[in-house]
């Protein structure tokens, strides 16, 4: 498995777009500077700033969309260039193949959110909008790691679609629909969609955030778990069919 993950990293050589997508983590911190631009450090609570810079559209829309694109890119070459046949006769197990991709998405997601966290701190402190407090920074880092770790699990259905398809159109379309559906369902049916459930976990203890109902962690993890399990089973079936030319 370690070899599979290492080779996944090797495959990313010269994939500039993969690394360029990380810059999207700095989008909301920059927007926050303009949003809070007229205020002074005395008026803005650092957590209020971080809520905007790191806990709003970044985990709801930007991160899922970027991870969806990453999933598509990770699977595209192998599906398109007849590489799977060569992998199966090494032999590489279908699930090993799937989870090595997942490991990359997990690593990328954590890096993305850490970059978002550091971007938020720098954007706030350097622009003079907030003061640096250890307590708020620790909260920000913990929350960012929480999002970075949970988002890939919530994105398992998109990864499943990406590795089971030859082209990129369906996975990209799925990413867009899946992401916006997660955003829309957040306030109406948060236990139906993994991304809504992930947001519920994130929002449950952020000061100043009021949710329609108290977050039921069991339901939230059940939702992410059941979708993730279905994705893994579905991928196994699809890859077995593909590898056997059915």
């Amino acid at each position: 498995m370690l070899n599979l993950i290492l080779t996944e990293f090797l495959k990313l050589r010269r994939r500039k777009f993969v690394w360029l997508m990380l810059l999207a983590a700095l989008f909301m911190p920059l927007i926050s500077i303009f949003y809070f631009g007229g205020s002074s450090a005395a008026e803005i609570d650092p957590l209020q700033f971080y809520k905007w810079a790191a806990f709003s559209y970044t985990p709801w829309i930007i991160l899922p969309f970027v991870l969806g694109l990453l999933c598509t890119m990770l699977a595209y070459d192998e599906n398109q260039n007849e590489l799977l046949k060569q992998l199966w006769i090494i032999p590489v197990s279908r699930m090993g193949y799937f989870f090595s991709k997942f490991a990359i998405v997990l690593f990328y997601s954590v890096c993305f959110m850490l970059l978002a966290a550091f971007g938020s701190i720098f954007a706030g402190v350097i622009s003079g909008l907030i003061v640096f407090t250890a307590e708020s920074v620790a909260f920000l880092l913990i929350k960012c790691l929480e999002i970075g770790f949970l988002a890939p699990f919530a994105m398992l259905p998109v990864l499943a679609v990406a590795v089971s398809q030859r082209g990129y159109l369906l996975p990209v379309c799925c990413t867009v629909v899946y992401t916006f559906l997660g955003f829309i369902l957040m306030m109406v049916a948060m236990y139906a969609h993994p991304l809504s459930s992930m947001t519920a976990i994130l929002m449950r203890n952020i000061p100043g955030v009021v949710l329609n109902e108290p977050v039921n962690l069991a339901k939230v993890f059940f939702c992410i778990g059941i979708w993730g399990f279905a994705s893994v089973v579905g991928t196994n079936i699809m890859l077995s069919k593909e590898s056997r030319g059915i």
């Binding site: 080779t7 090797l10 007849e82 046949k85 060569q86 199966w88 006769i89 590898s243």
Partner: protein, 307 residues
């Protein structure tokens, strides 16, 4: 006799209502080169895919190294190197980087295995050219390098000389021959080019419309190339009577009203011609003929022939 490395029994593949491989019984012996010969669409690739477990088998069985593949993948696959259809690699990586990935996945023990195989196929080591910039011939060479990277006992090569220039074809041919002679590898190779297979293979299987029409050693097939005398006369019935009565010829066939084939090539044709003339039978022509392998293949494939 050498043990069988690949054995298929009644191997059949049906897509919808179309039977693309029909009850194929293939026998590939250890240390020999088996050439699977057939026209495009004959079912060669499908047979190879079924052998490798890359496509499902509708009915029939495959034994590799005397075992079923199902459940033994981890033991059997490391003993096989294969190219099926166009070799696929990561387009954003160089040839060396691509092979390093496969070496890592296979856990290839030799530290300089990648360098060695690239030298064998004539590609530069640590070249900066990306796979996406490779010519078809270079891609094919890299595919062969990947197939032999882990020093497998059995090579399954689907049209490995596709896209190679004549010198490249000769190099690959010599290289495959060396693998078999010096390293005792077993090779199953497919091709639609008759000359290619006859220059390389020890055993030949002729696949046509999914049916294995013939399986034999090259030597045996060459023996089947019949020599005969083609005789064109004014009246075959009269001529046949003369040949039987005067020359005691029994091994002949009447092709049509004016053509006879005599299989006894020791006959004194001058004497035969003279006798037929004296019996008022006009001899239009008489010539010694020798069927080539191509003629033979045309015959077994129903006259369509193989390039």
């Amino acid at each position: 006799m050498e043990p069988l490395i690949i054995e298929t029994r009644q191997l059949t593949k049906v897509y919808g209502e179309q039977t693309v491989v029909n009850k194929v019984n293939l026998h590939v012996r250890k240390g020999r080169i088996y050439g699977l010969l057939g026209r495009n669409g004959a079912g060669k690739t499908t047979v190879m895919k079924m052998i490798l477990g890359l496509t499902s088998i509708t009915s029939g069985e495959v034994d590799l190294f005397g075992q079923k593949l199902g459940g033994n993948e981890k033991r059997i696959y490391p003993r096989i190197g294969a190219i099926i259809e166009t070799p696929g690699f990561y387009p954003n990586l160089t040839g060396t980087e691509n092979l390093e990935i496969f070496a890592k996945l296979r856990g290839t023990a030799k530290p300089d295995a990648v360098k060695e195989v690239l030298a064998v196929v004539g590609l530069p080591y640590q070249d900066k050219k990306l796979f996406s910039q490779y010519s078809l011939g270079m891609k094919q060479r890299l595919g062969i390098a990947n197939a032999i990277l882990h020093d497998p006992e059995l090579l399954i090569l689907d049209e490995p000389t596709n896209g190679l220039d004549p010198i490249g074809i000769a190099e690959v041919r010599n290289f495959i021959r060396n693998l078999c002679v010096e390293w005792e590898k077993t090779v199953l190779i497919s091709s639609h080019i008759l000359s290619e297979v006859t220059l390389l293979a020890d055993d030949i299987g002729i696949l046509h419309n999914g049916v294995l029409l013939e399986e034999n050693s090259l030597a045996e097939l060459q023996k089947k190339n019949s020599k005969y005398i083609l005789l064109q006369v004014s009246d075959t019935a009269k001529a046949a009577l003369v040949l039987e009565n005067r020359f005691h010829v029994t091994d002949y066939s009447v092709q049509d009203l004016h053509t006879l084939q005599l299989y006894d090539t020791t006959l004194d044709m001058a004497e035969v011609n003279k006798t037929l003339m004296t019996e008022n039978i006009s001899v239009i022509s008489s010539q010694r003929c020798n069927d080539t392998l191509e003629d033979y293949f045309k015959k077994v494939t129903g006259g369509e022939g193989i390039a």
